[in-house]
Amino acid sequence: MPHDDHAPDHEHDHSQPRVAFPDESLPEGSVVDGAALAGDVEEAFDYVVVGSGAAGAVAAHTLAQAGFSVAIVEEGPWVRTREFGERVYEAFRRMYRDAGTQVIEGRSYVPLIQGRCVGGSTVMNSAIAHRTPEDVLDEWRARFGLGQHLTAEILAPHFDALERELNVHAVDDEVLGRNNRLFLDETSAMGLPARKMHRYERNCRGSGRCVTGCPNAAKQGMNVSYVPWALSLGARIYCSCRVDRVVVKDGVATGVLAHTIAKDATIAHVPRAVRLHARRGVLVAASTIQTPNVLRRSGLRARAIGEHFSCHPGYGVGGVFDEPVGMDFGATQGAECTHLRKTERIKLETIAMPPELAAVRIPGLGRELMKNFGAFSNLAVWAVVIRAEAEGTVRPGWGGRDKVKLSFTKRDIERTRKGTAMLARMMFEVGAREVWPGIFGLPPVIRSIDEVRLIEEAPTDQRVWSYITTHLFGAARMGVDPKTSVVGPDFQTHEARGLYVVDSSVFPTNLGVNPQHSIMGLSRLAATRIAERARAAGASGTRAA
């Protein structure tokens, strides 16, 4: 059987006093494990928040801080820091939606990575912080009639607070790692503006295990930050509870109906009903993929639900060096270049991959694959991320799942090609002996900078490119016209009062930079305004003192 990740992690230093992680010692009664419930549940709160990822956790904390009683409903389980292992398969099984097998359907299948656990995708992402670019905010105002609702000035105090609370700072040199250093060395030599990434972390040890959950609680995912903080302020979280629908009565959201689910598909489970009443409102933060279908199941029929889905497809390139690179140490993602974001819609960045994920992109099968496996310790992986123009759809799929469809445009692929060629050149210039472009129809290994022209001439057929995507947007977008949007500038749906959407599904477009900060910033803004309006209407919170 695969490695048992539930065994004590041999990497924890047992000679040191046992460190208490923030996801331990939580207030009694604050965590309800749906997988272990013996009977149905019915409770009432001021606000119910659907989802515990970047948006839901921040919204819940903001409302709890304002004195309101808050319930968070999270479909996935709470996997504690102490349970995080090193194996990708175990992480996929326990914490990733559909065990990591989600895809976007289109001209080709593009893997789509989402977390499904307390903390959502913040548990397995690289914790990169980028404020919403001002040109993007300008575009939202100009194209979507958002007027002065979303400006850099309005968002600034929220970003300031997030950066302070989550300790955002540039990667420390001690944990930079060679994969990131090589990138920074080459961009410096080229004169291409680049920088160390700014991340949410405290005392990162460079374990390189972001993808399977930070074993040191250094990465400030929502599971070790805003969720526990919200619980310490009186909020309650219902884990392993999937929301069936928001209850909307006479055009007003009054709560949610959910049912409990097993922690994974191999465990027998008797579902229990969980009915949570919301006296003041329901905030849906289930992500761009799940939120539209939650809204549909709740009876909303806006034409824009599930439309205008967009993403940032990523494409990785491997380079093999004579000297060890050692992707098993260092910030998983620690260096980036956003210089080409506005003009070319391209971002270049590093990404260290665990062996299991790198293995899929290592060239060859059989003996050739085994030979290339031997190069892993000398392998660097960099990626180009595209602010894609393409838009797709999110619909209900078979068996209660979510069906996402999108095909990239020719220009999206041309930009991928340009970025990939740039990275390949950069790798040769900084000393790579060979580069693995991973493009079907090209040699799997190129050994000379002159062969980079093959990448520049590669077809723009999506099926020859091995994309992956994690940044997801749209599908319940914000706007002033109910015919073309789902929520207004106040984050409230046009169709139901008291029903808000606060995740990236409200973003009118994608961003071109990592979205977590924007997601949290807009969610904090939304929850702050919701709390202020409730106060102005004379509401007092019902949170127990």
Partner: protein, 147 residues
């Protein structure tokens, strides 16, 4: 969904062709790991669409010898070298669906294979420096800056 025993045998043959190991280089064969147990767990936890894809990939590789080598045999009935030849040809297919199915097997196999302690340790061990004087001519080079 469960794989039948013969399908598990076929999957083992295909995965073994993809990850045969390299004993001289310190890499074991994937068939020395609990591959069947792993596959049973995978098909139990992934959505039906993914499980069907895995089964389709197994059948494709199993029946491919007839089309790829003109041999009336399943993959499991071939010699090791021929098995590798078959999967390599399938992965190079101009038909997207065919090479995608092989990639499914590589992806799932990688989760087991590269998750193995010994394989990971070997992957993370620095390799010996490459031999100098390969005869390749570098046309463009910049000095490597100190980190």
């Amino acid at each position: 969904m469960k794989l039948a025993r013969f399908e598990e045998r076929w999957a083992e043959a295909a995965m073994g062709a993809i990850f045969p190991g390299a004993p001289g280089d310190g890499f074991g064969d994937i068939r020395g790991m609990d591959l069947r147990g792993f596959l049973r767990q995978v098909v139990a936890i992934v959505p039906l669409q993914a499980a069907v894809g895995l089964r389709a990939a197994v059948w494709l590789c199993a029946l491919a010898p007839l089309f790829v080598l003109g041999k009336l045999s399943t993959l499991a009935g071939l010699a090791e070298a021929d098995r590798e030849r078959v999967v390599v040809r399938l992965a190079a297919s101009r038909v997207y669906a065919i090479r995608s199915l092989v990639l499914i097997l590589k992806t799932i196999g990688a989760l087991l294979y590269a998750g193995d302690d010994a394989v990971r340790a070997r992957m993370n061990s620095p390799r010996a420096p490459a031999q100098k004087g390969t005869g390749l001519v570098t046309l463009h080079a910049k000095p490597v800056q100190a980190a």
